[in-house]
């Protein structure tokens, strides 16, 4: 029995040593805190990697729950998180319902069009053609408009089977936002939302579901988050941008879509009018309150939130986005965000000078 106690005591001592030794109790000269965030699942792999390295480098411990953009915003409204992640910026109406917030873009991504056409290595598409495929107006792969875009490709004389997301998703929002910009018909009939009633095709849950159906069903086409498609090496189409260039989705062509950004960084960059821009690109944001003293948060908590965001905007983190298949922010977005973070206050006092 004594041996048993000794063993338990030993194990306890070891665990305590392990926990205590992992981290110093101060970060940047203030006490270390725990930060909590929740929201979008799209940037989850990037956030997980970044928050882990941040902690290893002596930063605060950050936990992030991928519960969806909508859930994240709800959590921020309830004041139970330090920040929320969202693929869609808050609309003016949503901003009116809550205290002032600051949007900080953290990285960029895109929606790619994956397809399964045996024997077809390269597929070119244009916005109006994509819209008409998903609206059920172009129903066959050997349609004249598809042939015109792909003069060197032998397209099969088969029916097109569109695949879309069955769950509410930021990916669907970005895709339909793009379709609404390039097709008047799409805008009036279906619009842009996290879920849309697609008139044709079948739906599957999540990127893996859509990719799974496309993977084992010939003649399908569907939209998938670029981070998933790049990681899984799925065949995806080139898309014609506003300047008429055929663009392959890549880290560079996604970053090129950022173009000119407003001061508060809230903007849609689909169908961007920029050279070399992939037209279905997007930002993902972290949203925090401008006044950081809420729900009894300490000043250290507020400082830690800003420290984390500074870190995420730093060159080294932005350079690491490509390793997890996202695209880095353009310099303008980083500069604007650093300016915006200076306006964040605690008890009305600016935290950063």
């Amino acid at each position: 029995m004594k041996k048993m106690y000794a063993l338990v005591a030993g194990v306890l001592a070891l665990t305590m040593a392990a926990c205590g030794g992992q981290k110093s109790n101060t970060v940047n000269g203030r006490e270390a805190v725990e930060l909590t965030g929740a929201g979008a699942t799209f940037p989850l792999p990037f956030y997980t990697m970044t928050f882990n390295t941040y902690n290893e480098k002596g930063g605060d411990n950050v936990s992030y729950g991928g519960i969806g953009s909508g859930g994240g915003v709800r959590n921020l409204k309830d004041g139970i998180v330090d920040f929320c992640g969202s693929d869609a910026y808050l609309t003016d109406e949503e901003m009116k319902e809550m205290n002032a917030v600051v949007h900080v873009p953290t990285c960029m991504g895109a929606v790619v069009l994956a397809y399964n056409l045996p024997g077809v290595e390269k597929l070119n598409l244009a916005g109006d053609v994509i819209a008409d495929i998903f609206a059920g107006k172009i129903t066959r792969w050997d349609d004249a408009r598809l042939k015109e875009l792909n003069p060197d490709v032998k397209l099969p004389a088969e029916a097109i089977m569109p695949v879309y997301r069955s769950d509410g998703s930021g990916t669907t929002f970005i895709f339909t936002d793009y379709l609404s910009k390039v097709s008047e018909n799409w805008k009036n009939a279906y619009g842009a939302a996290k879920s849309v009633n697609f008139p044709v095709g079948q739906a599957a849950k999540g990127n893996p579901g859509v990719a799974g159906i496309i993977g084992n069903t010939p003649n399908t086409i569907g939209y998938i988050g670029s981070e998933y498609a790049f990681a899984q090496k799925i065949a995806y189409a080139n898309v014609k941008n506003k300047r008429g260039e055929l663009i392959t989705p890549s880290t560079e062509s996604i970053s090129a879509a950022a173009g000119d950004i407003p001061q508060d960084t809230r903007c849609s960059i689909t169908d961007a009018d920029a050279e070399g821009a992939y037209p279905i690109s997007c930002f993902t944001w972290i949203i925090i309150y401008k006044e950081q003293n809420y729900s009894g948060r300490s000043k250290a908590q507020a400082q830690a939130t800003l420290d984390l965001l500074d870190y995420m905007l730093s060159d080294s983190v932005q350079a690491s986005t490509a390793t997890v298949h996202y695209a880095p922010l353009p310099k303008q977005a980083v500069d604007l965000s650093l300016q915006n973070l200076k306006t964040v206050t605690y008890d009305g006092q600016a935290i950063r000078q």
Partner: protein, 285 residues
């Protein structure tokens, strides 16, 4: 003293379950209220308009109610030719023998397989076969979902039916044999009339499982918000639309999803109630 404590604990735990059940009904009704208020109870049930467009939102549950009832009915039809022979094999023909024990163990094992595994099997094995056979162009749909559902509910229907078939008194069967009845006649005239209500209750239990099955159906049904027009078209069930949409839902949409949950709850309750009444009636005859 000990007796009193025991009694107290007993009452406490007996009361907890009804309280939880009541709480679920209360919160479902409470949260579904705004959808019912907006569209009207019957209009909500009988409308097939499911439109997410902001500012033009309109939700009706009919596509999902028909999807659920259709997949369940088909699954039941598909499951009978598999489950009834198994039940007779185990409960009557090879009763007590080693081969029957093996067969019933294997059938019971099917019940322990997580539904996601059935989903994966349906997705990667059955779907391509259906496409190969030209049964449906996209492979997913009502037929695929019902077929996998049928296999999932076989163990529920079979093992319970076998128990009831085993319980048919030997005297009755021996009497029939003594009068020169063949085995098929004994099963038709003696075993089924006697075990009938029990077998029926086994199928009610199986229906209960098929009604609420979520993961497998979501993977195989194609998830389109329309009333299915044929066996090979895609559709959506009440459980699958909730699983698909609740993550990003709020406001009226969330309320509509909860209302669908309440209706699913009611349908399950009604079917169970009908089953119970029929069983009781059969027992009195």
């Amino acid at each position: 003293m000990q007796d009193k404590i025991f009694r107290f604990v007993l009452i406490l735990s007996a009361v907890v379950i009804p309280i939880i059940g009541g709480g679920i009904i209360y919160s479902l009704t409470n949260d579904a209220a705004s959808a019912f208020k907006q569209f009207g109870f019957w209009e909500f049930i009988f409308s097939d308009d499911w439109n997410y467009t902001p500012g033009n939102e309109s939700y009706g549950a009919l596509p999902f109610i028909t999807g659920t009832l259709l997949t369940t009915l088909l699954a039941l039809i598909f499951c009978i030719p598999f489950s009834l022979p198994v039940a007779l094999f185990v409960g009557e023909y090879f009763r007590g023998r080693k081969v029957a024990t093996i067969l019933s163990t294997v059938t019971d094992l099917l019940a322990g397989i997580p539904s996601i595994i059935y989903g994966l099997w349906g997705f990667y094995t059955l779907r391509p076969i259906f496409m190969e056979l030209n049964l449906s162009p996209q492979g997913s749909g009502i037929l695929t979902a019902s077929f996998v559902l049928a296999i999932m509910i076989v163990p529920y229907a079979a093992s319970l039916s076998a128990e009831f078939i085993k319980m048919v008194p030997a005297d009755l069967k021996e009497g029939a044999y003594a009068m020169g009845a063949t085995r098929a006649e004994v099963i038709r005239r003696v075993v089924f009339p006697t075990a009938g209500s029990g077998v029926f209750s086994a199928y009610i239990l199986a229906i209960g499982r098929a009604l609420g099955e979520t993961m497998t159906v979501t993977m195989l049904i194609g998830n389109t918000n329309q009333i299915p027009t044929s066996l090979t078209t895609t559709g959506n069930t009440m459980a699958s639309i909730i699983a698909n949409q609740f993550g990003e839902a709020d406001g009226l949409k969330l309320s509509a999803l909860i209302a669908i949950g309440l209706i699913l709850f009611l349908i399950t309750a009604i079917i169970n109630l009908i089953g119970k009444i029929l069983i009781r009636r059969a027992q009195h005859v």
